[in-house]
C-alpha cells in the first residue's frame, strides 16, 4: 500500500472540507492534522489546495453551448454531488474536468500529480479483447496481486478475480470498475451516474460504500446523478447544473432554492438529499441479502 493510504481514522471527516484532510494529503503528520480538524474553510472564496478547480468553463460543439461559465471545485475529503436533468452537460463537464475534452474557454487546474479514479457512466468493453477482472483492475499500471485482491474485496467482488470481463453482469462490472479506481489509491474519485441500471437496494449500498471509503481514505468525491430523489446523505455540497450552474450549496439549501424548484418541479424539493441507510440488512448489487453491519474483512 502506498504512503498516502490513511489509517481508518478514529474520527472520520464528516464535514468534508477540513484542513485536516488537506494537510494529511500534503504529507504532513496525520496526528497534527487531526489536531487541526475543525478549522475548515467554508467560505466561497477561491480555496487553496483544491484537488481540482475549474473557472469559467465554456464548451460548445456544433453551434450548441453545452457548458457556460461553469465554476466548480472539489477539495480533499469532500463529496460534491453534481445533479441536473438528462442532457444538462454533466458528463461533458466531468470529461472537461478530467482533461479528456478541452474546453473552448476557461481553465481547469488539477493538483500536481493528482491521482484520479474514474468510474465512467457506461462501460462497454469490446468482446474481442480477452481480459480477466484482475487484469482489467491493474490495467495501465503495475499492481501486486495483493493490491488487486484488496481493491476487489473492498467492493465485495473478490470472487470475480479470475473471471473474464465479458462474463460479468452490469452490477458486477460496475463494482469491478470501482475497484479499478480504488487500486490507484486515488485522491479524487469521479463517479458518473454509478447507480444507473442498478436497483434501489444496490444504489443504497453503493452510496454507503462510497461514503465509508471516503471516511477511511479521505479522498475527494465528485458524484454525478440525474436521479434527484436520492442524493447521498454524505454529500457536502450539491451543484445543480443545467448547462450553467443553477445553484449550489449543502443538500438542504439546494432543495429549498427557487432555481432548483423551477428546474425539477416542486415535488423534488421534498425528496432531495435525505437518503439514509437504516435497514437491518443490505442488498449487494446483484440483489443478494447481507446482514448489517458490514463484515469486518472490508476494513
Amino acid at each position: 500500500m502506498d504512503g498516502r493510504e490513511r489509517q481508518p481514522p478514529t474520527s472520520p471527516p464528516s464535514a468534508g472540507r477540513q484542513s485536516a484532510d488537506r494537510q494529511a494529503w500534503n504529507g504532513e503528520a496525520a496526528a497534527a492534522a487531526h489536531g487541526a480538524a475543525g478549522n475548515g474553510r467554508l467560505g466561497d472564496e477561491r480555496r487553496e489546495g483544491d484537488l481540482i478547480s475549474a473557472r469559467g468553463i465554456l464548451l460548445s460543439r456544433g453551434g450548441r453551448t453545452l457548458l457556460q461559465d461553469v465554476d466548480i471545485d472539489v477539495a480533499p475529503g469532500e463529496i460534491v454531488t453534481l445533479i441536473g436533468p438528462n442532457g444538462a452537460g454533466k458528463t461533458t463537464l466531468v470529461r472537461v474536468l478530467l482533461g479528456i475534452l478541452p474546453p473552448n474557454r476557461g481553465v481547469v487546474k488539477r493538483k500536481a500529480g493528482l491521482g484520479v479514479g474514474y468510474v465512467p457512466q457506461r462501460l462497454e468493453v469490446d468482446r474481442s479483447i480477452p481480459l480477466t477482472v484482475a487484469r482489467f483492475v491493474a490495467l495501465g499500471r503495475r499492481s501486486s496481486t495483493a493490491q488487486i485482491e484488496r481493491a476487489l474485496a473492498e467492493v465485495g467482488a473478490q470472487a470475480l478475480l479470475e473471471r473474464q470481463l465479458t462474463e460479468l453482469s452490469g452490477g458486477e462490472l460496475q463494482r469491478v470498475v470501482l475497484a479499478r479506481a480504488l487500486v490507484r489509491s486515488p485522491e479524487l474519485l469521479v463517479l458518473d451516474e454509478p447507480v444507473r441500471g442498478v436497483d434501489y437496494a444496490g444504489e443504497a449500498e453503493l452510496y454507503t460504500l462510497i461514503g465509508r471509503l471516503r471516511s477511511e481514505r479521505g479522498f475527494g468525491v465528485l458524484l454525478v446523478s440525474h436521479d434527484l430523489h436520492i442524493v447521498m446523505a454524505q454529500s457536502d455540497r450539491v451543484i445543480c447544473l443545467n448547462h450553467h450552474v443553477c445553484c449550489s450549496g449543502v443538500p438542504h439549501s439546494v432543495a429549498q432554492h427557487p432555481e432548483y424548484a423551477r428546474l425539477f418541479g416542486p415535488q423534488a424539493s421534498r425528496a432531495i438529499g435525505l437518503y439514509q441507510h437504516h435497514h437491518d440488512h443490505s442488498h449487494d448489487l446483484a440483489g443478494a441479502t447481507r446482514p448489517s453491519p458490514r463484515p469486518q474483512e472490508f476494513k
Binding site: 474514474y118 465512467p120 469490446d126 479483447i129 480477452p130 481480459l131 490495467l139
Partner: protein, 265 residues
C-alpha cells in the same frame, strides 16, 4: 525445400507474421480493419510513384501510406459521413488512383497482379533486410506501447482520465501500422496485406484468456500459416501469398468452430 529463394520467402514471411501479430490484435480490438484496408490499398499509389521515379518501393509506399493515414485521421474529425463509408471511399479512391497511375507508367516493369497479390518468392536479400530492420523497430515499439495502447483499446476515456497520453499513443500506433503495411505489401500484395494483420488475431481470440496470449497465439498462427502456405504453394504450384492467406482462414475456422457450437447450445 532448401532453395535460397524459398528460404528467403520463409524467413521474410515468418518475420512479417511475428511483427504483424501484436499489431493485428490492436487492429481487431480497435476495429480498425477497414482503416488498415484503406491504408494498404493506397500502397498501390506508392508502388506506382516509386516505379515512375525509380525510388525504393518500400520507402515510397511508406510515404504514401503515412500520408493517407494522416488524411484519414483528418477526415474522421467530421461527423456527417460515417467512418466506414469514409474508409471505403478512401480505399477505393486509392485503388483507382493506383491503377490509373500504374497504367500511365506502362512498361514491362509493372505487373499489376504482382502488386495486388504480392510475390513472396521474389523477396531479395535487400527486402529481407528491410523486413528485419523495420520489423525489429516495430516490435520494440509494440512492446513499449503495449500497456498504454491496451488501456486505450479497453476504454479510451478511462485511460485518458488515469493519465495515459492517448493522442500520442494512437499517433505512434498509426505510424506502426503504416510501416508494417509498407513492408507487407511486397510479400502479400496490396489486397491481402490486411489479412496478415487481422486473420491471425481473429484465429487466436477464441483460444485466449489474456491479451498477451492472443498476441502470442496470433504470432504462432501467422508463422505456421506462412510455412504451411509456402509448402502448399510449392507442392501444388499455387500462388504464395494467397496460399498463406488460405491457411490463415483454415486456422480461423478451426479455432472459432468450438465457440460457434457452444453458442448454439
Amino acid at each position: 525445400m532448401t532453395e535460397p529463394y524459398l528460404m528467403r520467402a520463409l524467413l521474410g514471411g515468418m518475420g512479417l507474421a511475428l511483427v504483424a501479430a501484436p499489431l493485428g490484435c490492436f487492429v481487431v480490438w480497435r476495429r480498425m480493419a477497414y482503416f488498415g484496408e484503406a491504408v494498404a490499398q493506397s500502397g498501390l499509389i506508392g508502388i506506382a510513384l516509386g516505379l515512375a521515379f525509380a525510388l525504393n518501393l518500400t520507402a515510397s509506399v511508406l510515404v504514401v501510406t503515412l500520408a493517407v493515414s494522416g488524411l484519414l485521421l483528418l477526415l474522421s474529425r467530421q461527423s456527417l459521413v460515417p467512418i466506414d463509408t469514409l474508409l471505403g471511399l478512401v480505399a477505393h479512391a486509392a485503388l483507382a488512383l493506383g491503377v490509373i497511375t500504374a497504367s500511365l507508367i506502362q512498361g514491362p516493369q509493372l505487373d499489376l497482379m504482382t502488386f495486388l497479390f504480392g510475390d513472396i518468392f521474389a523477396i531479395s536479400r535487400a527486402d529481407l533486410r528491410w523486413i528485419y530492420i523495420g520489423g525489429l523497430v516495430t516490435l520494440a515499439l509494440e512492446i513499449w506501447l503495449w500497456r498504454p495502447l491496451l488501456a486505450i483499446s479497453v476504454h479510451e476515456d478511462l485511460a485518458a482520465a488515469e493519465g495515459t497520453r492517448t493522442a500520442y499513443c494512437k499517433g505512434v500506433f498509426v505510424l506502426l501500422l503504416a510501416l508494417v503495411v509498407a513492408i507487407a505489401i511486397k510479400i502479400v500484395g496490396v489486397l491481402l496485406t490486411v489479412a496478415f494483420l487481422i486473420m491471425p488475431a481473429a484465429a487466436a481470440r477464441p483460444l485466449s484468456e489474456t491479451p498477451e496470449q492472443m498476441a502470442v497465439f496470433a504470432a504462432i498462427f501467422g508463422m505456421l500459416s506462412v510455412a504451411l502456405g509456402l509448402f502448399l504453394s510449392v507442392a501444388l504450384d499455387t500462388p504464395g501469398g494467397p496460399s498463406i492467406v488460405l491457411m490463415l482462414a483454415v486456422f480461423f475456422m478451426v479455432a472459432v468452430f468450438p465457440s460457434v457450437l457452444r453458442q448454439r447450445r
